[in-house]
């Protein structure tokens, strides 16, 4: 039988453009500057999204009502990470959790600064903001126990 051979292929992705509407993300990042969480609420069903989309998934209507959300919340689920996605061991185990902030329906993912032995579902946490917030994703340094 003839051996199979490899030919090189590629998928050129640089020719794609994406128009985006970033109102919900911009609102969130603007809030970060003041160390606040800002989402968008559906006027019809009351669902509060973070970051806010331009429409409600359930009601299928345009939504545009900014709403302030507490930076304290509850751990709804978590995982402790010992290796990265390619299998390389982590220098230290890392705790990442999904937190539901008070007054918000969406859950937000972030790193919890705590001993992996202490993390649990239902744990109360708050955001540890950077001292100088500038309006980017790094402003939210971590979640820490209340």
């Amino acid at each position: 039988m003839e051996e199979t051979r490899i030919v090189h292929g590629y998928w050129e992705l640089s020719t794609f453009n994406f128009n985006i509407e970033a109102r919900g993300i911009n609102l969130m990042l603007e809030g970060f500057k003041e160390k606040k969480l800002k989402g968008i609420k559906c006027h019809q069903c009351g669902m509060v999204y973070l970051p806010g989309p331009f429409y409600c998934r359930k009601c299928h209507v345009n939504i545009d009502e900014p709403v302030e959300i507490s930076d304290h919340g509850t751990v709804r689920t978590y995982t402790v990470q010992y290796a990265d996605i390619r299998g390389e061991p982590m220098p230290e185990p890392r705790v990442s959790a999904m937190v539901q902030f008070d007054g918000c329906d969406s859950w937000v993912m972030g790193v919890v600064q705590c001993d992996p032995k202490d993390i649990h579902v239902g744990m109360r946490v708050k955001i540890k903001w950077k001292e100088q917030t500038v309006g980017n994703m790094q402003d939210m340094e971590a979640f820490v126990p209340e």
Partner: protein, 381 residues
Amino acid sequence: MAEKVAVVAFKLACAPDLHTTRERLVFNLTRGLFDELGIDRHAIDSFVMNSNDFLDGRTISTVFLDAPSGAYLKDETKVEMDGVHAVMYGWMRIMSGQYETALVVSLALTGSQVSPYVYTQYSLSPAYERQVGLLNELSGAALQAKAYLSRRGYSEELLDLVAAKDLELAAKNPRQIRRLENAGVERVRSSGPTYEPLRELHCYPPTDAGCVVLLASEKKAAELTDKPVWIKGFGSSIDTYFFGERDLTRSPSAADAAKRAFSMAGLTDPAREIDFAEISALYAHEEPLLAESMGLLPEGEAEKAYRAGDTRPGGSLPINPSGGSLGAHAPCVGGLMRLCEAVLQLRGEAGDLQLDGARTALVHGQDGICAQQNGVVILGV
């Protein structure tokens, strides 16, 4: 099982640049359609998404588009081919008796956000055509055009006649994006050469397009519209992938697809029984080539028919009375553009382009380089 299925409503958006996001486009089309009909997303039993990941630029791209289309927690599926296949799929879901309504949601932003030719480029075999490096969408179309004209003994002027006929009609159609003044043979002939024998105005214009089409069972259609347009038949067929193995001078797969559709619709003399055809001819030569292959024009008679005006409105068999794909075309949405135009004709709502007594229409969609795959729908009122 359902008795029959109607196209009850649609919404179409086309522009060189729609200046919108993919999500906003499908939201506005679906929300707009629901508002016009006085329904909401819960009236839709099944969503058939119709897009292409190469063109979207995201894998499994409909995950981003389901919720803005209203499909949150609804039955949802996807067709990554021309829109007529998505219509066929929706029609089958209703015919199964499991669903009363199906909404096809189709989009491709190939005017502003990605080149339509990318799609063809990445469909080429990495082991052969990509290594040779000569075949692409335009060279393929040009090779097919030359082979066809030469085999039939037609002059290259036929390309100008076809394009002029289509572009004169497109100029009168508010849904088309290429609406030229003085779109006659002279204008076509003086447009820039691409790959011989094709010139710019023999080729479809890159288009941003989105379309939603609502299908319903006979019972549900009666609640939603006074003017149902019935799906009478469907046929699909695919040619060999390899370009060098095909008969480029005709389209056996279009012939086969049409034969199946005619048989299902009970048409025995289609060239007489069909009042007009909306054909996805992306390049001027494809219109007579596909019409001949589908039995709408006698093989070898196309140039004579075009010169005599047989394919114009008022002729013996009008082809693309909307202006066709040379006025606007995008992958996936293309076949639906033709379908929407046929629906308007059959409802008597085609405005300046309205034909007299149009009751049965052939709608054609295609996929793949030089129409490797073809789908044919017969619509009637």
